[in-house]
């Protein structure tokens, strides 16, 4: 059995999305900017895709800008706000400690350019409060950027409350909703969202495509200059197959959201309960305000990369926030942000489920994970010291 449970990294293309993409490779191959028939057919379909995306977010189609993905959308949102802030003399930005690097690394750059950045604490439960956002807002704050749901621990942020606070204070509100869109209800109007980033391949659409929602009246700056595509805010011939695939995938995800969410939540809860039976294990992030498919746990005394590789040997494909899987020697900034000590953060496991996962797969994981954890603990000098009482347990 091969269990793919790394859906927060990327998802399998849905058959519906795949079918929607196919004609745009060799049948409807026109450039939407061309005036001939092939071009105009493509332009019409591009409009339909934009309408679909807008409808799923409760936005106006003219507020949707296609990008190469979530990272580009995050970059464009933040750089646009920074340019605007520079113009009006507001150079303070608020975000959180556990944002995706597509946000954090942009903020690092902006800091070097003279912006002041406040990164809010996300507490042990992985949730920032609207009140803390409110308190952090200053006269010179230009934008608040808080992710909708965290990509590692799946915690859902109080987006509507934060949106309300930002509006009350006249500050732009951006949310990186890459993990949320297509999985939980997102309504940009009701939630007071000014800018939102999304990515196609996180909801069974294709890779290399995403979108930025930007409320009418906001100043958007182009990162790629050239032609007049995306109303002059993103040059380059539109990636038609990917756009059509993403729109089809999002429509499908939104239509089936209730059904999928119920199924995935049930699997998630079963897996969490099953894995918590492993001694000295914890669930990271709030259990209730959590994405339907996210399970993130730490097992004391073992290291995440070896856990991941052994699980892979047994046909279970998951992820870890261990240093070794990040290409650096520091464990995940998300796990450190929720207050886990380094040695515990090294031993994390992220399982991200989707509607294609089955109960049989959950049972398989509940059987295999404890075996691998026990094997690694048996090999671990840290576990040995914990057993002998030479080291104090952090996880009871």
């Amino acid at each position: 059995m091969i269990v793919y449970a790394d859906n927060a990294a990327t998802t399998r293309l849905s058959p519906v999305a795949k079918k929607a993409m196919m004609p745009y490779f060799d049948e409807i191959y026109g450039n939407p900017s061309s005036l001939h028939t092939h071009g105009q057919v493509a332009a019409q379909d591009l409009k339909k895709a934009r309408d679909t995306i807008a409808r799923c977010l409760n936005a106006d189609p003219r507020e949707i800008y296609f990008t190469s993905g979530g990272s580009e959308a995050d970059n464009q949102a933040l750089y646009s706000a920074a340019t605007y802030g520079e113009k009006i003399g507001k150079k303070h930005i608020i975000s959180t400690k556990f944002e995706h690097h597509a946000v954090l690394h942009v903020l690092k750059k902006l800091e070097k350019e003279g912006f002041e950045v406040t990164l809010l604490d996300v507490h042990k439960n992985g949730i920032v409060t609207a009140d803390e956002v409110k308190k952090a807002i200053r006269d010179d704050t230009v934008i608040v950027s808080v992710m909708y749901a965290n990509n590692e621990i799946g915690t859902i942020q109080p987006i509507s409350d934060i949106g309300a606070v930002c509006h009350q204070k006249g500050v732009i509100f951006h949310t990186d909703a890459v993990q949320a869109v297509g999985h939980i209800n997102v309504d940009v109007k009701a939630q007071g969202i000014d800018m939102l980033s999304l990515s196609g391949h996180k909801f069974h659409g294709p890779k290399g495509i995403g979108a930025l929602y930007c409320r009418k009246g906001m100043q958007l700056r182009s990162l790629i200059d050239g032609g007049f595509q995306e109303r002059g805010k993103r040059a380059g011939t539109e990636n038609m197959p990917a756009i059509m695939g993403m729109a089809a995938a999002l429509r499908e995800a939104c239509d089936d959201m209730e059904k999928n969410s119920a199924h995935v939540t049930k699997l998630r809860d079963k897996l969490i309960d099953g894995l918590l039976k492993i001694p000295n294990s914890i669930l990271n992030g709030d259990r209730k305000s959590r994405l339907p498919g996210n399970v993130n746990m730490c097992f004391e005394g073992i290291e995440g990369e070896s856990l991941l590789l052994f699980l892979n040997e047994r046909g279970i494909e998951v992820s870890s926030g261990s240093a070794c899987t990040s290409g650096s020697l520091d464990p995940s900034h998300v796990l450190l942000a929720i207050g886990l000590p380094h040695d515990i953060a090294h031993g994390s496991l992220r399982v991200s489920l989707c509607e294609y996962n089955t109960e049989e797969e959950i049972d398989f994981m509940i059987k295999e994970v404890p075996t691998v954890v026990a094997y690694l603990r048996d090999m671990s000098p840290v576990w040995d010291e914990l057993q002998k009482g030479e080291r104090t347990h952090v996880i009871q």
Binding site: E303, S306, S322, C324, S328, L329, D343, D384
Partner: protein, 145 residues
């Protein structure tokens, strides 16, 4: 693939893994904060390492370097074992990704720490320079191959 076949083979099938209650020397290096700890046990008879075991907390390459290092010193004289370098460990594994080189340094240092412990226990004098630490802390080590 991140790792060579050799690394994966040692990782999935580690040699000489386990504890040794009657070890003649035990060395432990690394720390849990950095994400890897290696503990090496040796049994010595007439200046020869007759048995060796290891316990490791760490990533795939930490387990693989521990495993191959035990193979490389088993049956060898203490003097030979002290000549083991992290470079030799990396070569024996058909290479390691750059950010994993520090695991090979840990393996070399674990072997040395175990031998040093054996010397200390038995009151054998040694040249401390041979045990100079490469500071295998949370750093990314580079290697010339």
């Amino acid at each position: 693939m991140l790792y060579s076949e050799k690394v994966m083979e040692h990782f999935t099938n580690p040699r000489n893994v386990g504890k040794m209650d009657d070890a003649d020397g035990v060395g432990e290096v690394g720390n849990a904060v950095c994400g890897d700890i290696m503990r090496m046990y040796i049994k010595v008879k007439g200046g020869i390492i007759t048995d060796v075991k290891f316990n490791t907390f760490g990533c795939g390459s930490a387990i693989a370097t521990s495993s191959i290092a035990t193979e490389m010193i088993k049956g060898r004289s203490l003097d030979d074992a002290l000549m083991l370098t992290n470079k030799a460990v990396v070569e024996a594994l058909d290479g390691l990704p750059t950010h994993k080189i520090h695991c090979s340094v840990l393996a070399e240092e674990a072997v040395k720490a175990a031998i040093r412990d054996y010397y200390d226990r038995n009151g054998i004098a040694y040249d401390t320079k041979r045990f100079a630490s490469k500071d295998a802390g949370c750093h990314i080590h580079d290697i010339d191959l």
